[in-house]
Each structure stands twice: as structure tokens, then as C-alpha cells.
Amino acid sequence: MGQHKLIFTGPVGAGKTTAIASISDDPPVRTDEAATDMTKQRKPETTVALDYGVMHLPGEEKLHLYGTPGQERFDFMWDILSTGGIGLMVLINNNRPDPLKDLCFFLQRFETLIKSTAVVIGITQTDLKAEPCLQQYHKVLNKMNIRAPVFEVDARSRNDVSLLVQALLFSLDPGLSLELEDKDGKLETA
């Protein structure tokens, strides 16, 4: 019975808790609390420890979905959570004061995990604030020398979150076939 982890990270209000809830098979475990201080000005609840959800895979296998708490004062949790992750999902809240800076921050903070696996970036809340646009994110990534999928995501939409997960899986292995899932995991790429 395999245990695998998928990590969701990003700033306060990026939609980590919501995204995990939208694809988790079991009701997600939340550690949201009434937000205090600065965070409260933007949202009533924030995650203080971690988010947890799970996807049951064929053959008793599980994919654990972990969300890091957005507030930086909990960042001691981040390394513990991300060790052994199959890849990183970064959600960026476009409705924050400087989302491009947020992106840099999270990519640098999770550099080790990104280097050994793959990263995808979902920009949320673009319906509330359209700028910065995707081109501006592309520029930042170019500067940081990181090639990664980046597109708009509404964390409330299962379809959007699913596409982001698929982008991660195909980035890890573009030859992955959609057809015929194999029971014993022996199949190789075409």
C-alpha cells in the first residue's frame, strides 16, 4: 500500500483549502480558524496548521493532499509537509497587493522540492482582479529561469483544479497515457 503526497502551497487566500476540498475523496481535514491581525482584513478564516485531503487510488493506494498554511509565521510546517512530495502545486492569489512577488517567494522557498520534482502554477481570483496578466507571470518565470505551466484557475472549480493536477502529472511524464490504467504499475512510456 503506497503512500504519496501532493503539496499545495501559496499565499493567504489563494484557494489551497478550497482546491483540496474540490478534489478530495474524503471530507478534508481543515485547521481553519478565525483570522486575526492582518489576515482578517482579507478573509474571515485562515488555515493555521495544514489542510489535508486524500484521493483513493486503485489498489488501496492513497494520494495525500497537503496544503501549507498561507501565513508565513507557520512556515516551519512547510518543509515537514513537502518532504517526499511527488510535485508542487503553487496557487497565487491575483487579488493580493503584489502577486508577482508572492510567486517569486514561493518558488524560492520550495526550490528543493521543485528541483527534484515538478511545479505547476495556478493563478486564482482573476475574476476579481485581472491584473497582473499571465504574460507578466511568464516574464517573472523567465527571469527566474523556471519553465513551468501557469494558467488561471478557480479553486472552487473541480475541473480547473483537475487540469492543474493533470498539468503536473504530464510535466512529470509527458508520455503518460490516458488510456488503460495498469494494475501493477509495470507499464513504461511508449
Binding site: 510535485g87 501557469v150 488561471e152 480547473d160 493536477v165 493533470q166 498539468a167 490516458l178
Partner: protein
């Protein structure tokens, strides 16, 4: 529309007196027609319920010019005002002005640009390999080689021109190309068209000149695409939903391609995606995510993509055409194709995760 052709006027609301007057005043120069075929509306602003009538016309025909008649000076957005009483000359003068506005700017601008795209496309064909040489000989219409389509001959080419003009000037533009008008709002990056996707897809199947042939008797008009500024128009004038400019162009190009590649991209040429398209907001049939991943990771040829994914060429070519229309494709020209083996081009990034696991996650996340 042809300047020589008589402009069609509609007088909405059952105002018989006005109809008689206008008929008498304009004589043969303009035709009075039913609502649906009209180029211009004339409306009596002093009439009972004139305002609701005006709203109704705006809703149904957001871009149709309106001439408003009134005893008092009235300032309505987007209406050409004519004070009552007026003489025949006053009316024809106003009509002539409006008709000039409808007809003039677009023909010159649009034809020039379409022409330059045609020339560019011709140059591309002439430059390309032997197998295409006979195509160049027969002109730019190379549907015959069955691998390529020429974006300039389709809605895609006209739309890109309209986008360019609109973005360059920052002004709302209207484009007409033998179909429903398309309104472009460059500041909010949205387009409006009064048609659903089924309609649009059907229209996208054929080159524009096919429609022109059906609708125009005059050969000069046959290439005409109208692109004109509509500075007065705002989104409130457009009932229904707006679409993002990118998402709209993406699907138009995909459907225009009809499973072929745009001129200038060969099926065995190495290409690469500059960025991932905004897939959650675009038309996204099966295999799009895989195609993005493969084409983003390293240079591959369109043929290789279809081999690796074991999917039909036309699916891959449609995707590449759409991405190409948005400027997302880089051509890697000087690299010989042999250097990139199939196996190399799809090497997993992280080998330590077994393929089986990723596949099981995929099958799980795909289930709706």
C-alpha cells in the same frame, strides 16, 4: 457592403406619416426595408414610447446606426440627430454622412492588411520545400496540399487584423466578414458576437471568399472585410456574454484549421511551445494537457506528437494552429529532425516516480 449599393433604411414603430415622408424625401437613393435587412434606422424621438423602442433596437442591433428626429435638441449617445422640421436635402445629407461612415474606412484599411498577410503567406510558401512548389505556382490557396491552411483566407486572419487595429488604437472596433458583426473591446480584452459556438464553428469551416462569392455580385467586393472603429459603443450595448479575446481567437483558429497546420509550419519541423496556453479558459478537448506538456518540454515535430500520443494528426494540428494564432509557437528551424528521437522527446522529468502511480492518479483525477 458596397458604396454603390443603395443603403437600406428601416423605420421601426408603426409611424406611417414618417414612412411616407422619408419615402418621398429619399426617392430612389435609399430603400425602405424590413427590420432584419436594414443598414440604418430612422426613429421619431418625439413619438409615443420612443425611448423603449430605441432600447429595443439597441438590444437587437447594437451596432446599427440610428438617425433620431426631434423638434428639440436631444443628446443621445450613439445617435445621429436631425432637428425637425427638415427639408429633403437635410435628410439625404445626414443619410449620406452615415452611409459614408459605414462604408469608407474599413475597405481601405482591411484590404491593405489582408493583402499584406497574403503576400507574407505567399512568401512563406515560395520559401518552403519542393513539395510545396506547385502550390506557390497556383497561388496562395493551398488547401490542395491537405496539410496546410492559410489563416489569412479565414476568419482567423481577419480577426487578427481587427485585433491589431483595435489594440493599436485602444478603440472599440467592429469587424464584419460575411457574418455577424464581431465587436472588439481592447481595453477589457473582450469580444462580443451574437452567435453561439455551434454557429461559429460552422462559419469557421470555409474560407471567407466562399461566403463572399455567395453574397457579392461585384468582384471588387469579394475580398472585402470591414473593420471600423466604434468609439461610442460600450459593453452595455451588447446583450449576452462577452468572451475573452484570446479564448475566442484560440477556438476560431482551431476550427479554421480543420485539422491542418498553418502555412509556415511543416509536419516534420521541430517546434516548441513558448508558454502553456490558458487551458482552463480555452476550448480544451481531450489530449490538450498532454500536447501542452510534450510541446513545452522540448522541441518536437507535429508528427512526433501524434505518434507519441497515438492520436490523429488532425487533433495535433488543430491544437498547434490555435497555439500558433496566439503566438505561442516557436519554430526551431535549423535543427535537423534526426537529432530528436521519439524516446528522447518524451523523457520523464522525474524518473523515480513510477509511471504506474502517475497513471493511477491521472485516471482518478479524470473521473468526473
Amino acid at each position: 457592403m458596397n458604396t454603390e449599393q443603395a443603403l437600406k433604411i428601416n423605420i421601426p414603430g408603426s409611424n406611417n406619416t414618417l414612412v411616407t415622408i422619408v419615402k418621398a424625401f429619399v426617392r430612389q437613393r435609399y430603400n425602405l426595408v424590413e427590420d432584419d435587412q436594414a443598414d440604418i434606422c430612422i426613429i421619431d424621438l418625439d413619438a409615443y414610447k420612443a425611448n423603449s423602442l430605441l432600447d429595443e433596437i439597441r438590444k437587437q442591433h447594437p451596432v446599427r446606426p440610428i438617425i433620431g428626429l426631434s423638434l428639440n435638441e436631444v443628446a443621445h449617445d450613439n445617435i445621429v440627430f436631425l432637428k425637425k422640421p427638415f427639408r429633403p436635402d437635410d435628410l439625404t445629407q445626414v443619410l449620406d454622412q452615415v452611409s459614408l461612415k459605414i462604408n469608407q474606412p474599413k475597405v481601405i484599411v482591411a484590404d491593405k492588411i489582408v493583402g499584406s498577410i497574403h503576400r507574407a503567406a505567399t512568401a512563406v510558401i515560395e520559401k518552403s520545400a519542393d513539395k510545396n512548389r506547385h502550390v506557390a505556382h497556383h497561388g496562395v490557396t493551398n488547401r490542395s496540399d491537405s496539410v496546410h491552411y492559410n489563416p489569412a483566407e479565414f476568419l482567423q486572419g481577419a480577426l487578427i487584423n481587427a485585433y491589431c487595429q483595435s489594440i493599436d488604437t485602444g478603440i472599440t472596433h467592429r469587424m464584419e466578414a460575411w457574418w455577424n458583426p464581431i465587436i472588439i473591446f481592447p481595453k477589457i480584452k473582450k469580444v462580443w458576437v451574437d452567435a453561439d459556438d455551434k454557429n461559429l464553428q460552422a462559419f469557421c469551416r470555409l474560407p471567407l471568399k466562399t461566403f463572399a462569392r455567395y453574397q457579392a455580385h461585384d468582384r471588387d467586393v469579394a475580398n472585402e472585410v470591414k473593420i471600423q472603429p466604434e468609439p461610442m459603443l460600450n459593453t452595455d450595448d451588447c446583450p449576452g456574454s462577452l468572451q475573452s479575446m484570446d479564448a475566442f481567437l484560440w477556438k476560431v483558429a482551431w476550427w479554421n484549421a480543420g485539422g491542418q497546420l498553418p502555412l509556415g509550419i511543416e509536419h516534420d519541423q521541430l517546434i516548441q511551445l513558448k508558454y502553456w496556453p490558458n487551458i482552463t479558459r480555452y476550448l480544451c478537448p481531450d489530449h490538450v494537457v498532454q500536447m501542452c506538456a510534450i510541446l513545452y518540454q522540448r522541441p518536437v515535430s507535429p508528427l512526433q506528437v501524434s505518434e507519441v500520443l497515438n492520436i490523429e494528426h488532425k487533433e495535433v494540428y488543430g491544437f498547434i494552429s490555435a497555439a500558433h494564432a496566439l503566438g505561442l509557437i516557436n519554430s526551431i528551424e535549423d535543427q535537423p529532425m534526426k537529432s530528436s528521437r521519439l524516446s528522447e522527446s518524451t523523457k520523464p522529468v522525474a524518473k523515480r516516480h513510477n509511471v504506474g502511480l502517475l497513471r493511477r492518479i491521472l485516471s482518478r483525477i479524470n473521473r468526473r
